[in-house]
């Protein structure tokens, strides 16, 4: 039998990613994710590197923008691409609970 990620683990990552899966997809991804997660385990075989990290190959640091106002969108443009809007607002089904962030 092929090795699989547990259903629970798969559904956990699907939930983190906010992706609803069909039963068929669950079956398939349990196998496929397991393979990819085995691949990334190989990182633990790498030896000899130092702690310094490379986030991206930036040519320079401290790139700041002056605090000067630029062109803004018309509210009509803001709602133009939104699937649902009410007046100038973008609309979503009711949200329960509060933001976790700021």
């Amino acid at each position: 039998m092929e090795e699989k990620l547990s259903r629970e683990e798969l559904l956990h990552v699907a939930d983190l990613a906010r992706i609803k899966l069909t039963e068929e997809e669950i079956e398939k991804y349990q196998v496929q994710l397991k393979k990819l997660l085995e691949d990334v385990e190989k990182i633990n075989e790498v030896k000899g590197y130092d702690d310094e990290i490379l986030i991206a190959c930036w040519d320079d640091n401290t790139k700041l923008r002056k605090d000067e106002e630029g062109v803004m969108l018309d509210p009509k443009q803001v709602i133009e691409n939104a699937p649902h809007h009410a007046g100038n607002y973008i609309e979503v089904p009711v949200v329960i609970g509060e933001s976790e962030g700021a």
Partner: protein, 475 residues
């Protein structure tokens, strides 16, 4: 009820006073038409990238300095990943690994005069979320606030009462608004506080179960919320009950906290370094430049005012109005009577400002004209009655004080001989008062001065008249 030791920590978000947003050049503004202050970056459009507003870094350095924090010299940003409709990219750009400030403190003074340091664990820079309005079955999103720069200031769990929380928040508000870092208007959401409350029996016990109170609309509610929460937890423990870590909110209407939700095992924010923003390396020059922008802070203002002879209570009052205090600061290098100056500003002038709903800098009062005014008052050339009569002209026209006095017909008699003649006449007419005076009744002076003023229709320079009266009585 058993005595418990409360432990309280506070997280404060303040919006920075910049012209534009943190990661885009759309305007940072409040109270505008919905979705009128955005661009594609704020909406998280595909392909857009953040830029970094220089002023945000400068204000954050300033804040870190004012809050006595160490400053992180090499910073990067991180992404905090979670799904919520108020966060356009479904991640927030924040600083998780390298907060710009850490290990700071502010000092509060309690009612009994005791001071206490409130320790600041860290302060970091991040972006604000959009505003959502919840309707019956819909939520409406306005992205004007999305991307407004914030600093979040996190204290150590070092407070023990609602009163301390109140003093801390007041102090913070005072420092950040005087530092020109934020408006700190709680009612407009430019300052928002969340508090974490737990209680335990003994200092040596581990910290108790935590409840977080969000949605606090005012500093007094923060105090009340903490007190109510301490009480609630104590009752539960007293009854042998326990509770789960939870998020509560302060409900204005009932004046108490209510449960929002039980906290699930740690949120999984999947932080990782933001690849779109290179390191920010703060040089000595940048830090110096940022510090240069720090205006004189309240404690120092109070100290100097008192040194200059202002009553302590008045020094406090002066600092409570930023524009008045800034105006007062322009006088500090001058030779003037600061006591009179402060009385005038806090008395008649403040009354005028309140009545007209104006700030001092919206009047025509200049430093020069104010100094002139104080001088005349000090000399006794104008009386407090005169001041009241002249006030509108002083604050609404550009004329010199001397000219206003002339126009208003306020010409005080400063001619020595003229006053002396009047006084001699009054002394002759009131022998019993004279003998009262000689018998040590000071009241007689008041009566006689009253007569002088009556005779001169209030135009006699009071100080001069007083001096002459004493001279004549003693002769």
């Amino acid at each position: 009820m058993t005595n418990y030791i409360p432990t309280v920590g506070v997280e404060v978000h303040v919006e920075l006073k910049t012209k534009t947003k943190i990661f885009s050049d759309a305007r940072n503004g409040y109270g505008q038409m919905a979705n009128s202050l955005t661009n594609v970056v704020d909406l998280g459009y595909p392909g857009t990238l953040p830029t970094l507003n220089e002023e945000v870094i400068m204000l954050a350095i300033r804040a870190a300095t004012i809050l006595n924090c160490n400053i992180q010299r090499v910073m990067h940003f991180d992404r905090k990943n979670y799904f919520y409709p108020d966060i356009p990219k479904n991640f927030q750009i924040t600083q998780n690994d390298t907060p710009i400030g850490y290990d700071g403190y502010v000092e509060i003074t309690k009612e009994n005069g005791e001071t206490k340091k409130i320790f600041i664990e860290e302060m970091h820079i991040e972006e604000d979320t959009c505003k959502s309005a919840h309707r019956k079955d819909k939520t409406l999103l306005d992205f004007n606030r999305a991307g407004v720069p914030l600093i979040e200031i996190v204290t150590k769990p070092c407070m023990t009462s609602g009163e301390e929380v109140k003093l801390y928040l007041e102090k913070l508000r005072e420092l950040l608004s005087f530092g020109d870092i934020s408006d700190c208007k709680i009612e407009e959401g430019s300052m928002r506080a969340d508090v974490n409350v737990s209680i335990r029996k003994n200092e040596r016990d581990p910290l108790g179960v935590k409840a977080e109170i969000k949605n606090i609309g005012s500093i007094s509610n923060a105090k009340l919320g903490v007190e109510k929460e301490i009480e609630r937890q104590a009752k539960l423990y007293d009854n042998g009950e326990t509770f789960k870590p939870q998020t509560r909110r302060f409900d204005d209407k009932i004046g108490d906290t209510v449960l929002m939700r039980i906290k699930e095992t740690g949120n999984d924010y999947r932080y990782f370094p933001e690849p779109d923003i290179p390191f920010v390396i703060l040089t000595d020059e940048m830090i110096e430049e940022a510090k240069k922008g720090i205006p004189m802070l309240p404690d120092e203002r109070r100290r100097i005012y008192v040194e200059k002879g202002v009553l302590e209570a008045n020094a406090n009052k002066l600092v409570q109005n930023r524009t008045i205090s800034d105006f007062f600061n322009t006088l500090l290098e001058e030779k003037t009577d600061f006591k009179i100056a402060s009385n005038m500003l806090l008395g008649d002038i403040s009354a005028y400002l309140n009545r007209e709903e104006k700030e001092l800098n919206e009047t025509t009062l200049t430093k020069e004209r104010f100094l002139e005014l104080v001088k005349f008052y000090q000399e006794g050339t104008i009386t407090s009655k005169n001041l009241k009569e002249m006030l509108d002209m002083i604050l609404e026209s550009d004329k010199t004080i001397a000219d206003i006095m002339k126009e208003q017909g306020i010409e005080n008699i400063t001619d020595d001989s003229e006053i002396r003649n009047v006084i001699k006449d009054i002394i002759q007419k009131n022998p019993e008062s004279v003998s009262d005076f000689k018998n040590g009744h000071d009241r007689a002076i008041k009566f006689l001065m009253g007569q002088v003023m009556k005779e001169t229709k209030g135009k006699a320079n009071p100080r001069l008249a007083n001096d002459i009266l004493l001279e004549e009585l003693k002769s």
